[in-house]
């Protein structure tokens, strides 16, 4: 069969193909060099199944008798998440208005808003907790502040993006009635971001419950204190119990969070 000349179609031309090949080679080289640099030794992979089995044997059965002792730390964990999240939400609302292009007063305030968001987000909860344990001493208070400070950036960023998406004509209509600036926020802006505010807050609380379970590693309260004490003492059956308990409250908080977010519209 004769091929019609001049009707050749190609998705990519030669230049594009060379570019795409170069990107693929670069990506492969990155992965390979990372692997080589780490000098990974697979012998530990070979010995891991028996180690895992050994750990499972030592963990079983979980130390149910210890259960009453972790009830209070579990409740403390949830409280750290609740109070830390409330702290973050309250503080992040003004930050969100600063970090949203359409509500920030000027370029300087916009930069300040973005800076707060970035600083808060770029430092891990555990590192914030280490700082606050030094400042406030060990315990739930330092953990709560750490959770709060880390969450300001998260809530502020997402809420700020939500504010940038609002319908400005609704705001303008309230402005046209002669309402004060605060009333314009109250009637024109807040109703538009309310579902997002609730959704983001509950979602962050859910993340914070998980975050609060490991604050104990730096002495900032919560169930993590018991977990790491048990690990240090090689009490593996106690560790098993605590892990089950953590799994339980994480599932609980996820369910509550998902339900709450489905409820607001």
């Amino acid at each position: 069969m004769a091929v019609e000349p001049g009707r050749n179609w190609q998705r990519y031309d030669t230049r594009d193909r060379i570019k795409r090949l170069a990107i693929a080679v670069l990506a492969a080289a990155t992965v390979l060099s990372s692997w080589l640099w780490l000098d990974l030794d697979l012998q530990y992979v070979a010995s891991s199944p028996p180690e895992l089995l050994d750990l499972a044997v030592r963990m079983y059965p979980p130390e149910w008798a210890y259960a009453p002792d972790i009830v209070m730390p579990l409740i403390e964990t949830i409280h750290i998440a609740v109070v830390g999240t409330i702290l973050a939400v309250v503080l992040s609302i003004p930050v969100a208005f600063l970090a949203a292009r359409n509500t920030t007063p000027n370029r300087v305030t916009y930069a300040v808003g973005k800076l707060i968001v970035t600083v808060s987000r770029s430092v891990h909860t555990i590192i914030w907790a280490m700082l606050f344990v030094v400042m406030f001493g060990p315990g739930a208070f330092a953990g709560m502040v750490a959770i709060g400070v880390r969450s300001i950036g998260f809530v502020g960023k997402l809420l700020g993006e939500e504010i940038e998406e609002i319908a400005f004509d609704q705001v303008e209509a309230i402005d046209a009635t002669g309402a004060s600036t605060f009333q314009v926020l109250l009637y024109g802006v807040i109703p538009q971001i309310k579902p997002a505010l609730v959704g983001i807050s509950v979602y962050r609380w859910d993340i914070n419950v998980r975050g609060a379970t490991i604050l104990g590693v730096v002495g900032a309260g919560g169930i993590g204190v018991q977990l790491f004490d048990a690990v240090d003492a090689f009490q593996w059956s106690t560790v098993a119990l605590i892990l089950i308990a953590i799994l339980g409250i994480v599932l609980l908080s996820e369910t509550v969070s998902a339900r709450a977010r489905a409820m607001v519209r």
Binding site: A167, D169, Q170, E172, A173, I174, D175, A176, T177, G178, A179, S180, F182, Q183, L186, Y187, G188, P191, Q192, K194, P195
Partner: protein
């Protein structure tokens, strides 16, 4: 009484949307502003309550120059100017009653506004107006549950509950079907008569303008090219407004034939000496 004197708006892009419009609106007249898209109708009306900041000229409402007011003084002045929008601009997630009562925000404290605690007379007024616009018993519906025609009536109720001394309507019928458009125009004219306030309506449907307005303002390319009673809007005048035919001929001597500015009720033709002659 509303008076604009040489009102001019040049956007930061350099576009001159309104070029020196002078007119007076008073009593309870229905004034329809017509003109092609981009003629500056919206800009003109938004310059009156300074949602758009005018570049030059004056806007006098009952003698007070609005363009000279500081921000907080302007907020107080806006309470006297009701505005109805093309896309209704209701706060979608608030109820009908909250939307209507937001027209009273200028008279209540922030704290009362937060608690939705409006004076009983404001609530009474809001109920009355909802009845007038045909939305009795709808007060607890959310704005986003309403049809377009219903939404616009909430928009009108929000403007009227302000008890304004003038009503501005920016293309109030453009998003509505013909039946709803007529209903809205009838409502607006009834309000003007009942409350004895003037209304300026931007509208691009000339038949609607002719049917309801007492007076027509014709805007072409930012300039007021017709200002007269509705009966005087003949084919010639429409050509000038929509095609700018006579304008092209008269641009050269525009400066010498500037604003006649008369306030008599006979037909006034601004900038277009050839309009009646041709």
């Amino acid at each position: 009484m509303l008076e604009t004197i040489d009102l001019r708006k040049v956007y930061s892009t350099g576009d001159e949307a309104v070029s020196g419009v002078s007119t007076t609106v008073e009593g309870n007249e229905i004034v329809a502003m017509i003109g092609p898209s981009g003629a500056g109708k919206s800009t003109f009306i938004r310059c009156i309550n300074r949602l758009t900041e005018p570049t030059e000229g004056e806007v006098r409402l009952d003698g007070e120059d609005l363009t000279a007011l500081a921000d907080d003084e302007m907020k107080a002045a806006r309470r006297n100017i009701g505005m109805v929008f093309q896309e209704y601009n209701l706060v979608e997630r608030l109820t009908v009653m909250e939307n209507v009562l937001s027209g009273r925000l200028g008279y209540v404290s922030n704290w009362a506004a937060l608690r939705r605690n409006f004076p009983p007379e404001d609530v009474e007024r809001a109920y009355d107006i909802l009845e007038t616009v045909g939305l009795a018993d709808m007060e607890n519906k959310r704005a986003d549950e309403l049809s377009g025609g219903q939404r616009q009536r909430v928009g009108i109720a929000r403007a009227v509950v302000q008890e304004p001394t003038i009503l501005l309507a920016d293309e109030p019928t453009s998003s509505l079907d013909p039946d709803s458009s007529h209903a809205v125009m009838e409502l607006l004219t009834a309000i003007a008569e009942e409350r004895n306030i003037p209304i300026i309506i931007n509208i691009h449907e000339v038949p609607l303008a002719v049917e309801y307005a007492d007076r027509i303002l014709g805007l072409h390319d930012g300039e007021l090219v017709f200002d007269g009673p509705t009966d005087d809007l003949d084919k010639n005048a429409k050509d000038v407004i929509y095609r700018g035919e006579a304008i092209a001929a008269s641009t050269a001597d525009r400066d010498t034939t500037s604003q006649s500015g008369g306030t008599d009720d006979t037909e006034r033709v601004v900038d277009t000496p050839s309009l009646t002659g041709d």
